[in-house]
């Protein structure tokens, strides 16, 4: 009976996390309900996000204890986060365990910490692509694709790798959070250990979704997500939960860094350091960013492309940039006023998990600056009674002279694009330019 309950919880809790994240993401809409904030707090469980935030702001945020709790849990009992709390893991945990030759490619397995080092260096060098690969951010972006009705390629790829290689392939080889926690789990104190009564039947390796049972060695590797499947499946009841102090001798995983690993790691750092500047555009593209966005270069470094701001935007004025804009700007939110203007609801500031869009009051928002082309403006050039730009301006930055001709008060203009959006000319006579 106890075993049955464990099997049940193993499904319920990760599924609950997945459904909760989907619902919370769905609830990212105007007016933003208070509980939608929970997604932000879930994301903050991730130590990678803390690292990213520390890199971009230089100070530890008030919620720094949350990832440290995760780290403490990992040091105590291994990758409990990956196995029980990760929403993407919750999805992958539902996949059946199949046998595949691909699952035991030795070079792939041994180079994963080099990959982790590479992503961490990339992060510190000023790119939030590694954060994009972490579960809460990646899932948000892919959910946005689904919501928009386009194909979530990455999610499909992760699911396929889970089906054809082994369920937690992504978690063990690509996910920076998973790899970071795995690296820490090497020093975990509580763990499942294979006892000497093991008959080497291999049932446990067949049910393990993480491919972490090195059955020939009779050990459970650091990838163990404590799901308990092996424990339940073992006919000999050879698996027991033990603390590090008891079974120190069996600890093979915390062996020192091999020379090969060291070189691999060094190579990853070198590639990250040398390659990243090459990917940077020579000049920042001239696009309008969400209200409160930090300066363009820093924005590109901080934005994790989680698409939450794009989802929450009530006027859908935030548009993820296409791949043609370059890899550094790909998927970052931008505003094209002619398509939709910013309503200055500032919800994007509330949902941004990476400080790419900072919380600034409306008075300090400066998305861009409106520039009026008087030669084409209907009022200036044709003496028409237009002034639509003035009607549209939410901050009264468009003023009129004694002949009722409009001009822009640069001090008041926030660059929301209302004027450009409202201009009745085919090619707007007033255009918002990034500062």
């Amino acid at each position: 009976m106890r075993l049955l309950t464990l099997a049940l919880w193993r499904r319920i809790i990760p599924c609950f996390m997945l459904v909760a994240v989907i619902i919370l993401f769905w609830r990212h809409q105007y007016p933003l309900p208070a509980d939608a904030n929970a997604l932000l707090w879930f994301s903050r469980l991730d130590p990678i996000l803390l690292l990213a935030e520390w890199r971009s702001t230089g100070v530890l945020p008030g919620w720094f204890w949350l990832p440290f709790v995760m780290i403490a849990i990992t040091l105590a009992g291994g990758r409990l986060f990956c196995g029980w709390l990760c929403p993407l893991g919750g999805l992958l945990a539902q996949l059946p365990r199949r046998y595949s030759r691909l699952q035991s490619i030795p070079w792939l397995y041994s180079s994963r910490y080099a990959w982790l080092l590479f992503t961490l260096m990339l992060l510190l060098a000023g790119s939030n692509w590694p954060v994009f690969l972490t579960p809460f951010h990646l899932l948000s972006e892919e959910l946005f694709r689904l919501w928009k009705g386009t194909v979530p390629w990455l999610l499909a790829g992760i699911l396929l790798s889970g089906i054809f290689i082994y369920p937690r392939f992504w978690c063990n080889h690509i996910c920076p959070t998973g790899l970071l926690l795995a690296a820490m789990a090497r020093w975990r104190s509580g763990r499942l250990v294979v006892d000497s009564v093991c008959s080497h039947c291999g049932v446990c390796t067949k049910v393990c979704p993480t491919h972490s049972l090195q059955i020939m060695a009779g050990l459970v590797a650091e990838d163990c997500m404590v799901c308990g499947r092996c424990w339940q499946a073992c006919p000999q009841e050879a698996l027991t939960w033990q603390s590090r102090a008891v079974k120190k001798a069996d600890d093979y995983s915390s062996a020192g860094l091999s020379r090969r690993q060291f070189f691999k790691g060094g190579f990853a750092v070198f590639v990250a350091g040398a390659g990243w500047p090459l990917l940077q555009p020579s000049s920042a593209p001239a696009v309008l960013r969400p209200p409160g966005a930090v300066a363009e270069e820093e924005f590109l470094a901080r934005c994790s492309r989680c698409s939450r701001c794009v989802k929450v935007c009530p006027s859908q004025c935030l548009i993820p940039m296409p791949i043609e804009a370059g890899i550094t700007a790909f998927l970052t939110p931008s505003i094209i006023p002619r398509q939709a203007k910013c309503e200055l609801c500032l919800l994007c500031q509330e949902v941004c998990p990476t400080m790419a869009i900072e919380s600034v009051p409306l008075q300090q928002v400066k998305i861009g600056l409106a520039i009026l082309d008087e030669r084409r403006c209907l009022v200036w050039a044709e003496k028409k009674l237009c002034l639509l730009c003035r009607e549209q301006c939410p901050v009264h930055a468009i003023e009129a002279d004694e002949y009722n001709r409009p001009y822009v008060n640069n001090k008041l203009c926030v660059g929301c694009g209302g004027c450009e959006n409202g201009c009745p000319l085919k090619q707007a006579a007033i255009v918002v330019r990034p500062i």
Partner: protein, 310 residues
């Protein structure tokens, strides 16, 4: 009634006339023709202008309708009522830029008491509709009062139908289907400042019933507004002049003036003309009012009407 149903009935009715001797010369009535003449069912009260003093929207509305002989003079049981309110900017009710939610709710309650089948409150906000519906408080009020509320932003096909005007400035506009098909059309504007036309009231409010407003601004705005008023005359204009902004309109926020009046009239021009004087403008100085009066939409000299102050 959807379009298909309408065409079906119109065709049968048209063919049916051939069966009646002497009737085959009569034309089947098209919606634009029916509506050009407006709702003529209440000619008895056409020259009245009711001005209600007060600050409580609900009681003012009730008083106004009492003075007009009761809401049943306008709304018959089973009627469809369309209310063109103003919630086109995302302002709070207390900022006095949009229709007071209490007033809209009170009007819906009265219509329901009179037995209206369906009451729709509509506008075509020029800022984000979701934010407008929420922030102005009108959505909550209308839904609680038992009415329907929506914005006309999402789709030409759904909410608009072409109407021929053949005016000097407007030849044809895509006009609100809801208004054309309604049995009763209440225009519920708020009196407030407007950068372009100085003041916005009933006639200007009806610009929110048109798909392409941008065109109005590229041409002769005043003439466009006036010609648009010939499409469908509101059954009743209820001009909310309780509180309104006197500058920074239509978007606001701006300085608020308390007029504490609610003006009722079946003559849309007279109501606006009175509102203009309240705002401190000479009605004849407002081009769109002058042109509308010239076109016979209504009476510019409101004092000629049977004015009742309550």
């Amino acid at each position: 009634m959807d379009r298909r149903e309408f065409i079906k009935i119109a065709t049968y009715a048209g063919l049916g006339t051939f069966l009646l001797p002497g009737c085959h010369t009569a034309r089947t009535s098209l919606p634009e023709e029916r509506n050009l003449s407006g709702n003529q069912g209440n000619s008895a009260v056409i020259s009245d202008l009711i001005i209600v003093q007060g600050s409580q929207p609900e009681s003012m509305l009730t008083k106004g309708f009492e003075a007009l002989g009761g809401i049943q003079n306008f709304v018959k049981p089973g009627n469809t009522v369309v209310v063109k309110a103003n919630f086109s900017v995302p302002r709070l009710p207390e900022e006095a830029c949009t229709t007071n939610p209490l007033l809209a709710a009170a009007l819906i309650k009265l219509c329901r008491q009179a037995g209206a089948k369906e009451i729709k409150v509509i506008d075509y906000p020029f800022t984000n509709p979701v934010i407008c519906l929420e922030k102005t408080g009108i959505k909550k009020a209308v839904l609680e009062a038992g009415g329907k509320i929506y914005t006309l932003n999402n789709g030409l096909e759904r909410y608009f139908t072409p109407v021929k005007i053949n005016g000097q400035a407007l030849l044809e506009v895509d006009y609100s289907k809801d208004v054309l098909e309604a049995d009763v059309f209440f225009n519920l504007p708020i009196l407030k400042h407007h950068y372009i036309t100085d003041v916005t009231m009933g006639l200007k409010n009806m610009m929110g019933l048109v798909w392409d407003r941008g065109y109005f601004h590229t041409g002769e705005l005043h003439r466009c507004i006036a010609e648009l008023a010939t499409v469908r005359r509101p059954t009743l204009t209820i001009l909310e002049a309780i509180r309104g902004i006197t500058a920074n309109g239509p978007t606001g926020p701006g300085p608020i003036q308390e007029y504490n009046q609610l003006i009722f009239g079946t003559d849309p021009v007279a109501v606006d003309a009175y509102g203009a004087t309240l705002f401190g403008k000479k009605p004849a100085k407002l081009d769109y009012l002058r042109i509308a009066a010239e076109k016979g939409v209504g009476q510019l000299d409101w004092e000629k009407l049977n004015v009742k102050r309550v």
